[in-house]
Subunit: 328 residues, 2 copies
């Protein structure tokens, strides 16, 4: 059975829906950092997106594609935090009630912000409960439409607008990237962006970026089959803790990705510090792994032009200050 | 004697020179913060500008306007840090050697970055030496062209592109701001932006924003004459420590500004924390005073649409972490 996949047309349609609602984030670069790297590094700062991560894009596209009746009944989502905020904001902006199922140990700022957007938050213990089941039960009981975190064509198309914008701005500036590195949890951002980037740059290397211990996509790209990580450890990169790639997202990534980069927590934290110093951006640990892959040489920048997506910036101030003080 | 003043045409010409070199920074907003404020706050994040502050704009415009011979001989500037980096970067990008005179207690990151851009840095003690005199001597000895920090038509026109971009994006989005708050040291950014903003929005309130103790422009706007502050204390807002408004900048500000807002250090630090939380931006203390003026109610947001310029983000990581941890 050949599953349908979002096309570049679907991503352009999503961009049309998002126009005037989402921030078109600019590509940033630091000539000083470029000099150190011996190449050109462009950063796509999705931490500046509404709700502090790219997740708003997919959620808004998905909810806008529901029928009026579905929207009026409401939506339900599960998320460790960034998707939660994206759904809550998109639901509010489109007039849909929202319920969000979140792990009880999600960063405080993410839970607080989700509630502030008017969503009802249902928490669960990260170990021992299945959030998909909880969300499915709530959906059935209340007649709510699910807004999946990544494995959905409308979500993939929405997140793909990040890649579409990268391609458009590179085109405007006469830049042809040699490689693009994209943070990867379940694979919505990477697969959607890959569709848009591959359409614009047939020869560009495309890399997912994941934290050590949660490198299910990198391993799956190596083997060609979806790998599930069963011995997953706690990680500071809370935004990227999917144990296995999505079926739809992986079908796309397997076709379009060059390979998966993997970085250590230390490299992610150092990338947060680099985002602070060179780009004046607040990056959260998971949001910094693609930048880390470029800075650490996993995706080489020397002699090349590389784009790295900083996918989110939702990190508690106290933790941020602690990490910044401890970065090398 | 009627001094010439930059016109909107000069600012548009500066924007043309900067095109492809400076970042066109997007207006950002946080609906969550808007709800708290009961109005609409748009932030112009000039911390994302090349070299981490708006200063690159004026320096680049000034150096591009020199003759080829002048550029080949080189430029000299004095600065507590952000102008230094802006001049160093603009000089490098236009092929001009640069000497920058900096106080020895300027933030380390600003001195380091200025050197990294290839400029020769000459330091002096902040008390007891006159940096203008030192710079003038170096200019005379070596035949260098001065790049003044603010009181110069080309500098004013370059910084004015910030206001021009605000007006353009507001126009695109159908937004008519009720007020714009702009960080003010010597007045280059505020006066240049005021020319562009007044041309677009005849009825908009325009406010300079300064830190307590360094409110020379606010006091000068009240009295109508340039006030000099003689009892100036050390301030965490190192970017804004001009003891008196520029002659040219004040002539413009006196005509165009509604009034000057003044904020405490505590309010500036809280605005840095708000920039972190709501906008994922690294703001330096001086760069946050216009945002602080809006958050603290000095420039009221309730029931209105207000734009605040975050003018820079060059703050050492250790100090940033300390301030963030201590913000209320």
């Amino acid at each position: 059975m050949a599953a349908s996949k979002p096309t570049i047309d679907d991503i352009e349609a999503a961009a049309g829906r998002l126009a005037g609602h989402a921030v078109v984030t600019p590509l940033l670069e630091s000539p000083l950092l470029n000099e150190t790297l011996g190449g050109r590094l462009l950063v796509k700062p999705e931490c500046l997106q509404l709700t502090g991560s790219f997740k708003f894009r997919g959620a808004f596209n998905k909810i806008r594609r529901l029928s009026d009746g579905q929207r009026a009944r409401g939506v339900v989502a599960y998320s460790s935090g960034n998707h939660a905020q994206g759904v809550a904001a998109a639901a509010r902006m489109t007039g849909a009630p929202a319920v969000v199922v979140m792990p009880e140990d999600a960063p405080r700022i993410k839970i607080e912000n989700t509630r502030s957007w008017g969503a009802e938050v249902v928490t669960y213990p990260r170990r021992g409960a299945d959030r998909e089941t909880i969300a499915a039960e709530i959906a059935a009981e209340r007649g709510l439409s699910p807004v999946p975190p990544y494995d959905d064509d409308d979500i993939i198309a929405g997140q793909g607008t990040v890649g579409l914008e990268i391609a458009a701005e590179c085109g405007d500036r006469g830049v042809t990237p040699d490689a693009v590195a994209i943070c990867c949890g379940g694979g919505g951002l990477s697969s959607g962006s890959a569709i848009a980037l591959r359409a614009a740059f047939p020869d560009c290397d495309l890399h997912t970026a994941e934290p050590e211990g949660w490198d299910d996509t990198a391993r799956s790209l190596e083997t060609g089959e979806r790998v599930r990580i069963d011995d997953a450890r706690p990680s500071i990169c809370d935004a990227l803790l999917a144990p296995t790639p999505g079926a739809r997202t992986f079908a796309i990534n397997r076709e379009l990705m060059t390979s998966g980069a993997v970085v250590t927590e230390r490299q992610a934290i150092d990338a947060m510090a680099a985002a602070h110093r060179f780009f004046k951006l607040v990056a959260e640990p998971g949001g910094a792994v693609a930048l880390a892959s470029a800075l650490a040489g996993e995706v080489p920048v020397a002699g090349r032009t590389v784009v790295a997506v900083v996918s989110g910036g939702n990190v508690d101030a106290a933790l941020y200050a602690e990490l910044l003080a401890g970065a090398s």
